[in-house]
Symmetry: C2
Subunit: 433 residues, 2 copies
């Protein structure tokens, strides 16, 4: 009896993640065959630079013509770990049009143009899997798509960027400044030479858009995400937060509002020190899901790194391969809810407001009255002498508010800035819980 | 165009979990139809006692003839939440023989006779899903089956029984005795009138067998699980563990040995206070998975309760329903590895040994020499005066060992018991980490 033909796999990209995918596919050949029922044959790897030395990778597999690789006859699975919107999008669409299932880690592409790909996958009757796009090794995409699909998810809150979590964690444990820790992170390989995508929150925002789409059965785009990075977080903020019982985290927060709209944001956020998310250290990621019946679930693990991310890719590869062997595809996009996105200024949140003021009687009362005009009410205040000013002259106030609408809070802060008693340094941050 | 016919669903059992399944199916009707593409019709609910009052449940659906319900024409999905080995097994087999996919929460049945069911499902070409059998609402079964299937899992460590975690947690925070806290747990509904299955570790053992089977692609049976409960854990043990920097948890531990055998056990275990599992409180569950490439993953959430467990059932129902609509079944059992189980006495572990001794010079040296005869080496010792004996006469020793084989440790403890200087109260517990 002739053995069933192997499944042909094409790999696009051979960088930090791609090289690990290739290695794990090679290492796991026999195990994967036992799990799938057929051999998986890596038939080609597209790269940008053929001249680069790639130990352990069979040079005969390499090509710099990705389009030709994808167009080869009989490709069953295409793994895209190149990143970037183009040419990845065109290659993925070509792969699916040619009948291949696709496994990708491309968060930016999915957050900016996911629906184009989801519709193409449904049209072609193939799988499009993307576990590796969010939270590295932690299974979170498949649980949202196929485990929590019998429940109503009401919120997803996550630490989904390892670079910023490493930085904030170090600022917290060492009392260092952002610039000092960024330099150390770059030295240690936790931050890129150009760290913009991570420290400005853009990476986390792409992941938030994907998580929100899945959690709320809707289409949430990168543009829908209210995004702030961590570059303005100071050592002072970190210390004050700790005194107040909080830890500052870059939080990706997706929530269902009572009016059925979806709010999605990425912000440096004060998280209560006893919240499970407060204790996520270093480059780890964690995703906290609240559901109507399941309650509170937390998933935690390595959020980045070649080998962990590759393991998420391989999980999708095996599942897609098993589907191919049985001649089926898994369930596709579910966006029937089509919920609108909450206008950013209407999103409610608690806030932390820190500012420098003249140490005069009545200043706090004036601030509270100003806040009240915008329905912002104060929950707690902490006052300290301002460093660098003579005792009794300057004070640094740290205010925690009750829930207020973002627009109202921002307007209140503008009024603050105009007050003569306010001498500067107004920090505004969100508070969770 | 005539609408596609609804999928017919039969529910076996209407207790704590079953009543919530029925309620959530009713509440979620429209959402589920949108997610599946067809209406889900609950056509019957089998119960033992027709006379019992069941608010919110349509009495017309109730029957006390489960076999007849399962045998009805055109049943697509059968949900089994009755528990117990029979008649659940016969009903599940009949359901699958009749072409229905099955969703179950029955950990004891799966742990004792899972393979019979897996083979029947494969034979009939239907799905057998059981997320609700382990760790309540936390998605862990599907991640093991379909997300981590591209990696090599090397260990699964979990707190998978809410009753015992509630009890041990209370003993830790209050300093109370086991009996006191058990009574409180029963009053609060965290423990049954007959708490044996929980406090003797049998419930956790069934879950450990299931987790080990999935993690290591083998068949692990309830009988393979080395199981100890928490009834002998004392307030003293809890306090001493805390002084040593540990928290006592009922740990289900499944690990791959270097010789490729599988060790599976459930034991009260000293867990380092800074381990993520140490901070799982109350009735929560948590499962910690170690994989070759993914690294360390943790999943945490409500481990029990009607609504959370029902949400896990419903996740399986929706996924099985989507498969039915597309005329397919998902991947079935993967047990090709057929790894053997490590003989219990050969399993390595660190240990905690506590004992009462005469406070004489040379006692510790004698104990250490005795241990050495069995290749048991001491890592740390703590000595305190024994309460109730005059100062200087009796001492309570708490010893932490390095890794030793279970059989060697037990033989060493037997020798201890025979020593004249050892006055009694020998406690032996495993240590993690």
């Amino acid at each position: 009896m002739t053995p069933a033909r192997p499944l042909k796999v094409a790999l696009l990209g051979c960088g930090v993640v791609g090289s690990q995918v290739a290695r794990q596919m090679l290492e796991g050949g026999d195990e994967f065959q036992a799990r799938v029922g057929r051999r998986l044959d890596l038939v080609g790897i597209s790269v940008r630079n053929l001249a680069k030395d790639r130990p352990g990778i069979d040079a005969a597999l390499l090509t710099d013509d990705a389009a030709e690789l994808v167009a080869r006859k009989g490709i069953d699975l295409v793994i895209e770990v190149m990143g970037g919107v183009e040419p990845a999008r065109s290659l993925i669409l070509a792969a699916m049009a040619g009948g291949a299932s696709v496994i990708t880690a491309n968060k930016q592409l999915l957050a900016q143009d996911g629906p184009t790909l989801y519709e193409a996958a449904a049209e072609a009757g193939v799988d499009l899997y993307y576990e590796a796009a969010v939270a590295g090794a932690i299974p979170i995409i498949r649980p949202l798509r196929e485990s929590l699909v019998g429940d109503e998810v009401t919120a997803v809150k996550g630490i989904v960027n390892g670079t910023t979590n490493f930085i904030l964690d170090k600022m917290t444990t060492e009392g260092s400044s952002f610039d000092e820790v960024l330099a150390e992170a770059q030295r240690l390989g936790y931050a890129e030479d150009d760290p913009t995508a991570d420290v400005e929150g853009l990476d986390a925002a792409a992941k938030a858009a994907i998580l929100a789409s899945l959690a709320f059965h809707s289409r949430v785009n990168l543009d829908d995400v209210d995004c702030e990075g961590i570059t303005t977080v100071t050592a002072d903020d970190v210390a004050t937060a700790a005194e107040l019982g909080y830890v500052i985290k870059l939080l990706a927060r997706c929530a269902l509002a009572p009016d059925n709209s979806i709010s999605v944001g990425v912000h440096p956020t004060l998280v209560p020190a006893n919240h499970p998310l407060a204790n996520v250290s270093g480059a780890f990621n964690a995703v906290f899901i609240e559901s109507r019946h399941a309650g509170q679930l937390m998933f935690m693990g390595p959020g980045a790194g070649g080998a962990p991310t590759a393991s998420a890719v391989l999980g999708d590869v095996i599942t897609a391969a098993r589907n191919r062997v049985r001649g089926v595809a898994g369930p596709g996009e579910s966006s029937y809810s089509a919920r609108p996105v909450t206008p950013r200024n209407l999103v409610p949140s608690r806030f932390y407001v820190a500012l420098s003021v003249d140490d005069e009687p009545g200043v706090l009362a004036k601030i509270a009255a100003s806040f009240a005009r915008y329905q912002v009410s104060i929950q707690a205040v902490r006052q300290e002498s301002e460093p660098g000013r003579p005792l009794g002259q300057g004070a640094r106030l740290a205010i925690l508010t009750h829930a207020a609408r973002v627009g109202d809070m921002k307007a209140a802060v503008e009024d603050l800035a105009a007050m003569p008693e306010v001498t500067g340094g107004i920090t505004l941050m969100r508070v969770e819980g």
